[in-house]
Symmetry: C2
Subunit: 377 residues, 2 copies
Amino acid sequence: MLTELSSFKFIITTFLLVSIGNVAFAQNPSSKVKFWNPQQSDVSYIEGQGWLGEMVGNYNRLPLKMKGVVGERLWQLSQNSAGLKIRFKTNAQEIIVRYVVNQEFDMPHMPATGVSGLDLYAKTAKGEWLWAAGKFHFNDTITYKFQHILTKEYDSKELEYQLYLPLYNTVSWMEIGVQESAFFQPLTPRQHFPIVIYGTSIAQGACASRPGLAWTNILERKLGMPVLNLGFSGNGKLEKPLLNLMSEIDASLYVLDCLPNLTKIPKDELEELIYNAVVSLKKQHPETAVLLTAHGGYTEENLSDIRKLEYENANKALDAAFKRLKKNKINQIYMLSKNELGQGIETMVDGIHPNDLGMMLYAEGYFQKINKILSKR
Amino acid sequence: MLTELSSFKFIITTFLLVSIGNVAFAQNPSSKVKFWNPQQSDVSYIEGQGWLGEMVGNYNRLPLKMKGVVGERLWQLSQNSAGLKIRFKTNAQEIIVRYVVNQEFDMPHMPATGVSGLDLYAKTAKGEWLWAAGKFHFNDTITYKFQHILTKEYDSKELEYQLYLPLYNTVSWMEIGVQESAFFQPLTPRQHFPIVIYGTSIAQGACASRPGLAWTNILERKLGMPVLNLGFSGNGKLEKPLLNLMSEIDASLYVLDCLPNLTKIPKDELEELIYNAVVSLKKQHPETAVLLTAHGGYTEENLSDIRKLEYENANKALDAAFKRLKKNKINQIYMLSKNELGQGIETMVDGIHPNDLGMMLYAEGYFQKINKILSKR
């Protein structure tokens, strides 16, 4: 068995496979770095995927059975690795990640580091988060080199890492390398029931400057529990097939954050859509909490009545649906208001998509609310 | 006199020049939009430039006399329009800006909207800031369309606008257009003594997602007074020619924020450099306050002792220089500490350059300090 090298541009003459536990390493003798390819393991090491048995060997977000069931654009976006991460323990002082993506590196309002980049966080035994700065090179094969890791304090200990994958690109191949002498142990996904988030481009991660700063990923670190990212740019329209699919997951909490892409729907129709979405989830999971998120607003709203009216209509529909759900005694329903999302004129890049300041405020709003919801249970 | 159209790709058949006051408009009859080119006015309408008499007709930051005096790279960066803005009053509901830049639109860690984009803020009569969302298209000619402006509250009144220019690109040609029927009046630069900021890439604006979010520009809005941006990527090394040039400006305050590019200099040598820089400014302007800014730190520092040591050396040199200045009774010297800059693991895109969250914290730290300094006077 040889590592897939077709799209790999480094010059490597010999590969040797060594096995540590069930993890196969490809060794690169010239640079004394051993590489591990998560796709070649016999179990999945990708966290943030649902439907695990159906997803082995890919960095996608929806199982194959959804192809043709959801629209083509949503299917394509589901191949983006938003919210996915790889967890491992190592004492390495240098970690190299090389990988291939199949779409444009960036967007006009979101840099390559966010669209196609990686983010590496470490957690100490005390639960303190640390962050690793990687030197990045965007080429046919993208590389991130995390160097000079380890302080006196953490030296010779094994840190627990989370490597966040690209928010708006599709990873076709990836290898993680450490020095030959270093300890390296990938960690399987945590089994805790996840928070399942169904949303739009904002939930997918537009426009964070790096993957760790997408609000779903900040939230995941703040809560210390798995989050499932079902945010789809230009989509996230409370579609029946997606709601049915979400129902297959035993969640700690379902989040419906779809209003930013539902502003064109008449108020009564939208109220009905929201109401039915919640009822559909509650049918399968009557005891699981559902959080309904308001439209966060357009940050040019004080300069444009038209824009203000656009989202206010959606938030009124949400209010009406929420009241009707309460009235009909559907339990464990919560709402996150526009105010709680805390956006202002400096928090968006284009009036709609949060920048890193907006993402932090989004995450903070969600964190406060979800903490309350989960502590009540 | 005809508008320069060589690099202009829109199809426009006829141009008609009308004069309102000393402002010449190029009229585009087909779309009923009148365009104004700030470079064709008989006075300068560019705010954020020093040496005004020497800068008419360009969007640069240094006068021609500095070419060959400063290094070639610094000279090139001085042609970038970081910190420059155009102020005007209008009651237009649509504002179109079209312009040409001569470098790459983006960087891997900074989107086109920040490197080459525009940002438009409005201020109400009450002093409240509003923000306008522009639809952008990055082509040979870049366009921003700000539409659906005006609310009931501001309708028919004239708002005062600030249009921030690109942070990391050089503007060679620009036109601002409004509907033919709209009132439009450009405003000449404010005459208040500016805050003059000499710094590195962080001061130039890397890596804000849009120009208005560079910390110098946030600070300018918070303080309501002009700021002169002399931040130069990879440069900003307390060079003698730059210090002499700064001395030509009657400033409210001089800021020296150069440490991020001086970490390789031995501590004693750096202390001497900082000390001499302040003495040189004070010689010409004994009563003008000087603010010395510490290195903001590398946000991977808790995972890397080596990186921590790198900047700590620079901050120790600053401390020593600051003490020596105080000891030698040089008045009106202030320091902005690393703590006051408030950076953490979520505030940088690459460990060095602030994202929008980091920029806001930078601006807040500066605002608090400068407010104190100026209120003492």
